[in-house]
């Protein structure tokens, strides 16, 4: 066989092998690409599911909180007043006419007071209020409720024009607010509390300031403060930031911030700023 022919045959074999490798590379790349894309899609769906789950959890917590409030109101307020009315009316038959009338009038006033309380209570079913009246109004109602029971002075301010955030974001912000209030009532020993909602097209802030005993946020998290961690993870869920400024004896300031306009674009009613 001529050397030239031999070279050509070697060239054909080498060329064919290279083209075969090229084909293998193309197919492998395709498989690899699809695998990567599938895992990306899976991860995205997982994130979406986590978001939905977290949202549902938040919703349930708000419901639970509302039910607790309703239960306490019925037991501590309405139940007591009704029991008093019952006693009042039970002892009425032996009384002189003039005093009877006084007791009846007193009972009537108490019944109308109970009716007002019941009406307020039905209005304070927070989640529904949140859906129908929005975040600012629901926070105002919650503050009014706390104001009646708590022994500290409460100030509530709204700056800027109230803008609706999406329902999910309002729910999460409201739940953070509830959690803060619960912590303040339980632990802060505060005398004054100031709550501010700041609205602008680019920035929304919820600021909660108290003059209580304060705490060290890092220590609180280290000591298993699940509440603070919860608040942070929830804030992250809606692309909000949360800052906690506090030190021993100097009160506490909690600030939740988010960009309403950015969220409206990326949130799309389902999932914040994640992959589409």
């Amino acid at each position: 066989m001529l050397q030239e022919d031999k070279d050509v045959i070697i060239f054909i074999i080498a060329g064919t092998a290279i083209l075969l490798l090229l084909g293998i590379f193309i197919i492998s790349f395709l498989f690899f690409y699809q695998k990567k894309q599938n895992s990306y899609i899976k991860e995205k769906n997982q994130l979406k599911n986590n978001f939905r789950q977290e949202l549902l959890k938040t919703q349930l917590e708000v419901h639970e909180h509302t039910l607790n409030h309703v239960s306490h109101e019925i037991h501590d307020n309405i139940g007591q007043v009704l029991a008093f009315i019952k006693l009042n009316l039970g002892s009425i038959k032996d009384l002189p006419q003039a005093e009877k009338q006084v007791r009846i009038d007193e009972s009537r006033d108490l019944v109308s007071h109970v009716i007002t309380d019941l009406r307020d209570l039905s209005k304070s079913l927070s989640y529904e209020t949140l859906v129908t009246k929005g975040l600012a109004e629901t926070i105002r109602m919650e503050i009014n409720r706390i104001n009646r029971a708590a022994n500290f002075s409460l100030e509530f301010n709204i700056t800027g024009q109230v803008l609706p955030l999406s329902q999910q974001r309002e729910l999460v912000v409201f739940r953070i607010f509830q959690e803060c209030m619960q912590n303040i009532i339980k632990h802060s020993e505060a005398n004054q509390l100031k709550i501010t909602l700041q609205y602008s097209t680019e920035l929304f802030n919820l600021i909660i300031e108290d003059d209580g005993i304060g705490f060290c946020p890092d220590d609180a998290i280290e000591q298993g403060g699940a509440g603070l961690e919860n608040m942070k993870s929830r804030a992250k869920l809606i692309d909000a930031t949360i800052s906690i400024t506090s030190s021993s004896g100097k009160g506490c300031t909690i600030k939740v911030s988010l960009n309403p306009s950015q969220m409206q674009v990326s949130f799309d009613g389902l999932y914040p700023s994640g992959p589409d």
Binding site: D5, K6, V8, I9, I12, T16, L22
Partner: protein, 217 residues
């Protein structure tokens, strides 16, 4: 002596027959006449039915052009983007024109049309790559690649045309010298890549067992 790939060709025909009910309402229905024609052609080639003056190149010229048109039509249907379809149609028409010109005026009817065969290979390879690119863009598909009959078809075509490219590129230079090593190389390459093609086709037909692709309905 029959080439080994003929067995795979028959196996593909057998699998097709078994899957016929599932395939008959799809674009793959055209594989029945194609596979029959190819099997008859290969059988005829082995038995020297088409040999005229010691050569059957004229029959290969015809069958390879038919094969090109058949797979070209398939790939045309598989491409979704109008721009890709338009480019591919132009390439098909141009290649067919060059093939006709080559067979009748350049290399001649009785000699193997290697120049136009190489062009056909390039066009088919490019179209399979375009299809793969389309697959990459359509990542939302829940069907894995190995269950996608179109993927198997294109994989078979890619390997078949890539593999035979070098051989046909050197054909005019080497074939007429009667080099026995070259003939052996032909046997190996032609068998190997035909086997890949028919195994891929069998896989493609078997994909219809559970999943019906909607793209070609």
């Amino acid at each position: 002596m029959y080439d080994y790939f003929f067995l795979f060709q028959l196996a593909a025909l057998l699998v097709y027959s078994i899957q016929f009910n599932k395939l008959k309402s799809t674009l793959y229905k055209w594989f029945l006449p194609y596979l029959i024609v190819m099997a008859v052609y290969e059988f005829g080639t082995f038995n020297g039915w088409f040999t005229v003056s010691g050569s059957n190149h004229w029959s290969f010229n015809i069958i390879s052009t038919l094969e090109f048109l058949f797979y070209g039509y398939f790939l045309f249907r598989l491409l979704r983007k109008n721009k890709a379809k338009r480019i591919f149609t132009l390439a098909l028409c141009f290649t067919l024109f060059v093939t006709t010109l080559n067979i009748f005026f350049i290399q001649g009817f009785w000699k193997l049309h290697t120049y136009s065969y190489l062009l056909q290979s390039v066009v088919i390879i490019a179209a399979t790559c375009m299809f793969f690119y389309q697959l990459m863009q359509n990542v939302q598909s829940k069907i894995p690649l190995f269950r996608n009959p179109d993927f198997w078809l294109c994989t078979g075509l890619l390997f078949y045309y890539l593999g035979s490219f070098m051989f046909f590129a050197s054909f005019s230079h080497m074939a007429y010298k009667g080099n026995p090593n070259y003939t052996m190389l032909y046997q190996v390459i032609y068998n190997f890549y035909n086997i890949i093609l028919y195994v891929c086709l069998i896989n493609s037909f078997l994909c219809f067992r559970k999943t019906k692709m909607l793209s070609y309905l």
